[in-house]
């Protein structure tokens, strides 16, 4: 039975418990983190924290403290999170490690004990801390490290960023919905009283005035988005959905107002007006929450690149925020860190993982004089780099700028409903005028009644709900299937896509190395190879290790071990000297019998496969062939898409031979464009679009991001980079390629539903308009039929929930 950690209550691992003296008694902890936090809490005299945590509540071990906190003391860095840089500053912190009310107490008590902290408040729900401090007395980094001591990792964040702004906008819309709902509940009983007989009594006109009193603020406050949208549309001379809605709302309102004032025996439509606004606002709100806004590009750039660099000044290292680094400065990058700048290596050599830029998963060797790019990862050597460019001017920065440009130049999606609007408005106005002219021959009052009735009854409520309802339901369904639709409107576009561009590495292929086959006597020496690769962290080593692990090979005793960077490894196993490495290295070592497999190796390497040679005691024994293999469902997807007659292109930054061999393996008739730069990928999309094609792009890397943003529909793989997901419209959360096909099926189903919905609302109009034109429409009929038509549309959209993927 294992002990429980004194701090967090988790089981203590049996092999490495941590012991510390707490109040003169030795206690056991599960990790050093827990132990230090517990010590810090007791030192500060806040041990009652442990009584405050509810019984049975498990604290998690504390998150690792944030790195490089000193950088947050620089005004340049703080200015990103707060506007006020005076002596008293206020900042919002995002906290990791808050689980319960006791944490709130611990953080607030810790902050209260710090001199210079004026105010500290924890929001338990959103896990945020707001602090105000005097910058003359205490530095932000001190506050952050004090909180890290008691087990909370906090980082500053800007609450006014794009995402928060969008949330606020949606919240404002929700207020309008709430107000319309309140108004509807109140006007309902007035309407019911009128319909059930009050319209014959003395209160009729009074009830009209009450209804007017409720409807007026609702039209102004809740109806504002429609009126403003219509006004903007008219000023820019286009017809959006808002125009007919506003015509309907205003006609209904002013007609009812006219009746209220001048025709005490007439009927008013104030209740219908409010019902309409409520239903339409609900549709608007659903539409709004299914959209997510793109992150600000500079913010994104800051997230991808380190915020600080280690500058070398007169032989000394100094941590500086990235904005203070200038061209020509020398900076040092340690193993495991990301390069903060674009530059040229001046000292040292290392292996670099550039997969985030190129999509290529293999490590690349960089020596003195080689160029490195910001955002890529320095794997195993310390290097000093002369800065060539920072932030926006780096290769990464230019890609992000390209994404931004592509996003901004994208035309708004014309949805099916929008295309019908001009005809709809023209027809409605013509019919209204026709009724007016016809009835004028008999009686002015009837003429006005008939004309306004046409405008009231055709108010496109069902029409306005047709698209948002279908898309809201489809987004919900797709989320359950692991397809995250960021921009609902593309669900309509996707069904008309006739050309799909695929990225190679990481999209069609898994993006990681695995063993394809072995040649010669490799299997015979499996346990020796397995033992050697255990020691290596290289991606090729990892592939070989996994291969033998699956074969459940036993591990031999490993003797002397040496890595030759960029060439291979040598080791003594079972008194044999074993060499694993490249062909050129083997040649240099003058290994015998290389010619046995060299023909086959040449063939494999032409396909872009990597070949690792095995030599034992100076004798070549075989070859392990390693490659980035296709995803299991790639072929199925290709076949399905081919069936539908969709054009396909393979677009890769890799060598042409490799790209062609992948296309061949896929057995698909696809165009292959290889050796392209990120900006050229974007251009390929533009070229296809210029030919009149509707293009979808499927990709996963930062280098695909501009193309994803440019495409009519951008689809990112969930296992890919954050930037690609930011730029895409759809993200495949399960990283399954077949979901591209499923998304398309769902999109076709959605478009069908939208068309059905539009059909339903047109049918409704065809039935109701003659009624209105013949001047027999009553408020009662309007109050029943108009919401009914909307409910039909909503019900039809709900049927989308039955969608199943193939």
């Amino acid at each position: 039975m294992s002990e429980q950690c004194y701090h967090c209550g988790l089981a203590v691992p049996e092999n490495e418990p941590v012991h510390r003296d707490i109040k003169g008694e030795e206690q056991t902890f599960c990790c050093i983190g827990c132990a230090s936090v517990c010590e810090a809490i007791h030192e500060a005299g806040m041990e009652s924290f442990y009584q405050r945590t509810a019984d049975g509540e498990l604290l998690a071990p504390p998150p690792p403290p944030p790195k490089n906190v000193e950088l947050y003391d620089y005004d340049e860095v703080q200015s990103e999170f707060t506007q006020n840089l005076g002596d008293i500053r206020e900042i919002h912190l995002l906290a990791e490690g808050i689980h319960c009310a006791a944490c709130v107490w611990l953080i607030e008590s810790t902050l209260a004990k710090l001199d210079g902290v004026k105010f500290g408040n924890v929001n338990l729900t959103s896990k945020r801390v707001k602090i105000r401090w005097d910058n003359r007395q205490i530095q932000l980094s001190t506050i952050i490290s004090k909180l890290a001591n008691v087990g909370y990792s906090v980082v500053p964040f800007d609450p006014n960023n794009a995402e928060a702004a969008l949330k606020k906008q949606n919240r404002a819309l929700l207020y309008r919905v709430a107000f319309a709902a309140f108004a509807m509940m109140n006007i309902m009983w007035i309407a019911v009283s009128l319909y059930t007989g009050a319209d014959e009594g003395e209160f009729k006109n009074f009830f009209h005035w009450v209804a007017f009193g409720i409807a007026t603020p609702t039209l102004i406050y809740s109806g504002y988005p429609f009126l403003k949208g219509a006004w903007d549309a008219i000023r820019s001379r286009r017809l959006g959905m808002d125009v007919p809605i506003s015509i309907g709302l205003l006609t209904t309102y002013f007609y009812s107002l006219y009746i209220t004032i001048y025709v005490p025996e007439g009927d008013v439509y104030f209740d219908t007006l409010i019902d309409l606004m409520l239903l339409l606002l609900v549709g608007r709100y659903l539409e709004a929450i299914s959209r997510t806004k793109a992150v600000d590009s500079t913010q994104r750039l800051m997230d991808l690149q380190p915020k600080v660099a280690l500058k070398i000044e007169n032989g000394e290292e100094k941590i500086l925020p990235i904005r203070l680094i200038k061209k020509g400065d020398w900076v040092r990058i340690k193993p495991g860190e990301k390069f903060p700048v674009d530059g040229v290596i001046k000292e040292g050599s290392t292996q670099v993982n550039e997969s985030m830029l190129t999509g290529e998963s293999r490590e690349i060797h960089k020596y003195e004089g080689d160029e490195v790019s910001a955002g890529t990862i320095n794997l195993n050597g310390t290097v000093t780099v002369k800065v060539q460019s920072i932030l926006q001017d780096t290769a990464l920065g230019r890609i992000i700028a390209l994404v931004e440009e592509a996003q901004n130049s994208k035309a708004p999606i014309q949805c099916t409903a929008d295309k019908i609007i001009p005809y709809f408005v023209t027809t409605t106005l013509t019919l209204a005028t026709a009724s007016l002219l016809y009835w004028l021959q008999f009686d002015v009052n009837t003429a006005i009644l008939a004309a306004t009735a046409v405008l009231i009854i055709t108010c496109p409520c069902a029409f306005g709900l047709a698209t948002p309802m279908a898309i809201a339901v489809a987004s919900g369904v797709s989320a359950k299937l692991g397809i995250f639709v960021k921009n609902g409107a593309v669900l309509e576009t996707l069904s008309s896509v006739d050309h799909i561009i695929f990225d190679k590495t990481g999209t069609l292929t898994k993006g990681e190395m695995s063993v394809v086959k072995t040649l010669g006597n490799v299997e015979q020496f499996a346990s020796s190879i397995y033992a050697i690769e255990q020691r290596s962290e290289h991606s090729i080593a990892l592939a070989i290790k996994t291969y033998f692990e699956e074969k459940q090979v036993s591990q031999a005793e490993l003797g002397e071990f040496k890595v030759h960077p960029g060439q291979g490894v040598e080791a003594i196993v079972n008194n044999q000297s074993v060499y694993l490495g490249s062909q050129s290295w083997m040649k240099g070592l003058e290994v015998d019998d290389l010619s046995d497999w060299s023909a086959e190796v040449d063939l494999e390497e032409a396909k872009g496969h990597t070949c690792v040679w095995l030599a034992i005691d100076g004798q070549a024994q075989g070859v392990i062939v390693i490659a980035d293999t296709l995803r299991e469902d790639a072929q199925a997807l290709m076949a399905a898409l081919k069936n539908e007659g969709i054009g396909m292109t393979l677009l890769s930054g890799d060598r042409a031979a490799v790209a062609h061999s992948i296309a061949q393996e896929l057995n698909a008739s696809m165009e292959v464009i290889a050796e392209v730069l990120p900006s050229e990928k974007d251009a390929v999309v533009q070229k296809l679009q210029a030919q009149g094609k509707t293009v979808a792009v499927v990709g996963d890397g930062i280098n695909d991001a501009p193309a994803l943003a440019r495409a009519d529909v951008g689809i990112a793989i969930g296992s890919g980079t954050d930037v690609s997901m930011d730029s895409a419209d759809i993200v495949l959360m399960n990283s399954k390629l077949v979901d591209v096909y499923n998304a398309r099926l769902l999109s076709q189903r959605t478009l069908k539903t939208i068309k059905q919905n539009i059909g339903l609302s047109i049918t409704y109009n065809i039935i109701m308009v003659p009624l209105a034109m013949s001047a027999v429409l009553t408020p009662m009929i309007a109050a029943i039929t108009m919401p009914l038509s909307s409910l039909l549309v909503i019900g039809n959209a709900a049927r989308l929930r039955k969608f199943k993927k193939r």
Partner: protein, 46 residues
């Protein structure tokens, strides 16, 4: 039945006040933290 003439408007005013009160409460952040405040009152300053 003359009572209706002032009862209905005053009822609407009361309802409206309630709506405004809720909107004010939500806007001033009183619904931002649904869990923390309930516990904060139990914390004493020791």
């Amino acid at each position: 039945m003359d009572v209706i003439y002032w009862l209905i408007p005053s009822m609407l005013v009361v309802g409206l006040l309630a709506v405004l009160a809720i909107i004010w409460a939500a806007k001033s952040g009183q619904y931002d933290d649904m869990d923390g405040e309930a516990h904060r009152i139990l914390h004493d300053d020791d």
